[in-house]
Structure formats: C-alpha cells, structure tokens
Subunit: 158 residues, 3 copies
Amino acid sequence: MKDSAEDRLLRLGLRLPAQSPPAARYANTVQANGLLFVSGKGPSGSPRGKLGSAFTTDDGYAFARAAGLEVLAVVKASLGSLDRVRRVVKVQGFVNAEPHFAEPHLVLDGFSELMVEVFGERGVHARSVMGASSLRDQLPLVVDSIFEVDEDGRSAYR
Amino acid sequence: MKDSAEDRLLRLGLRLPAQSPPAARYANTVQANGLLFVSGKGPSGSPRGKLGSAFTTDDGYAFARAAGLEVLAVVKASLGSLDRVRRVVKVQGFVNAEPHFAEPHLVLDGFSELMVEVFGERGVHARSVMGASSLRDQLPLVVDSIFEVDEDGRSAYR
Amino acid sequence: MKDSAEDRLLRLGLRLPAQSPPAARYANTVQANGLLFVSGKGPSGSPRGKLGSAFTTDDGYAFARAAGLEVLAVVKASLGSLDRVRRVVKVQGFVNAEPHFAEPHLVLDGFSELMVEVFGERGVHARSVMGASSLRDQLPLVVDSIFEVDEDGRSAYR
C-alpha cells in the first residue's frame, strides 16, 4: 500500500472539496465494464469568463487543477477510495475560449499534472483539448474523464 | 419483463423515427467489449441555427429530446430491442452556440430526461456538454452517446 | 494474414510519419479493457488557421487524412503492428471552425475514408464532429479516437 494515491494525496497536503452534485437529472459517475465514466466538472468557486479575454493561460492552469480536485472528489465518493483507480485512462478538456486563444493545451496541463502527482505513472492518460464557444454558466473550462477501476472493490496497490 | 424500456416507450406513447443513415462512410453504431458507441445524432426535421440567436433554451430542449428519439431509433435498429440496454453510460452534448449562450446544460436536459423516462434508473448517465462554434449543416445540436448492452443478446430485464 | 491492415498499408503505398510526442505530461495511448484510447492528433506539417476563413473544406479533408496517418503512427508504435486492431470503434473530430462553417463532417471524411482504406470493414467506426472555437497552436483540426485491440498481442487477421 506504500505510495498509494491516498498516501500521495495526504503527503501533498491536498484537500478534496465536497462532491459537487450533478446540475440536472444525470449522475456524477457511471461504471461499466471496468471503466468509470465521470461527468464533466469545472473548477470550484464559480469563476466565469473566457480564456483569451477574462482569463490568461496561467489562470486557466489553476482552474484546470481545481477542476481536477473536483473530479477526484467525485471519483473518491463513487469508489470509496482513490486507491481503487488502476489508471487514469482518458481526459477531454473543453476550454471556454475566444477564437484567437491558442493555448488550451497549456490550460489542461493543470489537470494532467495533478493526476500524475496523485496517481504517479497510473495518472498518465490519453487526452484531447479544444476551445468551446461557450460553456454552462460561462465556466472557464469543463473536464470530462474516464478511469479504469478495480471491479472487485479492491485497492490497485495491493 | 415488466416495465422494460420497450414497455415504457409504448406506455409513454413515444414513436421512434426511422433510423437516420450515417452522413458518410461511417457506422451509426459500433459495439466493443459490452459498450455500444453511437454516432452523433441531431434532431429530426432539419432545424438550422444557433442557440442564443436563432433558438432559445426551450427550443433547444425540444431539439435535444428529438435527438434522443433519433438515438433510440439507432440503438433499437442495432440491438433489435431497447430492452438489451443495461445502462445509458455516457452522453456528450455539442450545442451550436453563440459565445454568450450560457445554458447548454439546460438544453441537454431534454435528452437526459428522455433517457430516464424510457430506461428508468438505467437511463441515468454521466454527461458533459459544451458550446460548439458550428456543427454540420448548422444543426442546433448533436448528441454523442455510449450504452452498456447485454452481449449475449438477451434482455436486461429478465 | 491476407489483406491485413499492414498489407493494405503497403499496397496503398502509404508511409506513416514518425510518432509525434505528446505535447505535455500525458500519453499518446492508454489501453484499458481491450480498448486503446488515443490522444487527439492533428495533421503533420503544422498548418495553422480556421476552416471557413484560412482553409476550405477540401483543405480540411486533406488535413484530416494527414491526422489519420499521425493516429496510425501512434497506434502502430503502441501495438507493434496495425494488425492487432480489431476495429476502429469511435472517432471524434474537432474542427477549428468559423461560426458560419457548416461542413465539419465533410472535413472529417478525410480521416474516416483513410480508416476504411487501411482496415476495410474493421475501419468503419462510429463518430461525431463539431466546430471548435479554437485549438492548440491554431491547428485546423484534432482527431480523438478509440480502437478495439487484441489483448493477447495477436493479429486480428489470424
């Protein structure tokens, strides 16, 4: 169990927010055939506006990291422990972007780097990122994610 | 078999449209490892225009519900019966949106609520939604979806 | 082994580019439960600009085909041989598009048709396409993809 995701979270001093509720008639997560599909999550604190006008790339990086903590909160609530995550599989970043904004990938790095900090090599994922013309409530970004999980409910670090 | 998806569809008085053909050299659905991946579908009747200018949120809700019927038609054509659906797993909504349009989530609710009407708890899914700068033929929205299905070809309600 | 994907590639005279490195701390591919998730890839040669202003639909078709070769290079590097691909499962095309651009689907056909040329019926996939308000480095498009693979490391054509 050494160096598990929960251990790393503690060592990094990261605090997960409370799980945010789905905004409508859908679920935060659905598990099917060993994959956990997580609904799109934005940063906490309700920042609003677009990258390239209201916000800079550095702002966006911090928002993406905050969205990552929101996703981890939902995954932990769903699985009981982050140690049941075998792999962060796939991430899609939707960045609320002005047409001239060319750095959505640098924004999403805030999410990607958090996953590696918490899960180590298991946190390295496939990903895509794009600029959205708008997002719900003008959130600066939303991140969609898929995790591989242990279906027997055991830790991936045993 | 009581209260199966096909039963509910009848009781709700919903009529599925004919399966729309893929617009090019691709398939309406591909099944792999128990998951049915469905190509993006828009509403029937070819409405055209963007949310936030040509269309209101209420218009969009109705379009999303119509897109849901298109998706159900394709799933039924692929599986033979909607009762083979174990779970609606994941939905992504791409809304043709003006940059100021902040309610793509309320639009997608038209799709999400239809899934719950037809599949009950099995219809509650993970989802994401974003504003697209444009869509094919200026459709107001396209919905992408993944279903968990019974690979043995049996009903999920047995 | 007749008419395998590698055979077709040779016969078509297609040359795959070198695998492009991920632009940040993520992986080109992650395999989980028989599915290979591939990070979003753009065309080689670094063209920049939007469909509907800098580029025409025909330009976009050629870029989508080039992105397809980039994806194949990454899949081959990951699996050792394209013959381990059982099916091209799902494709999402993100096209850097002006708000009036209504032909992202004709652009993505460049990718879809390449998959069918190389994999035959196994190359026919489910897909979605949308206009993005912007993309990294103003690439004209990025394609996200999922492949079903043989987990035992064997050819799908045996």
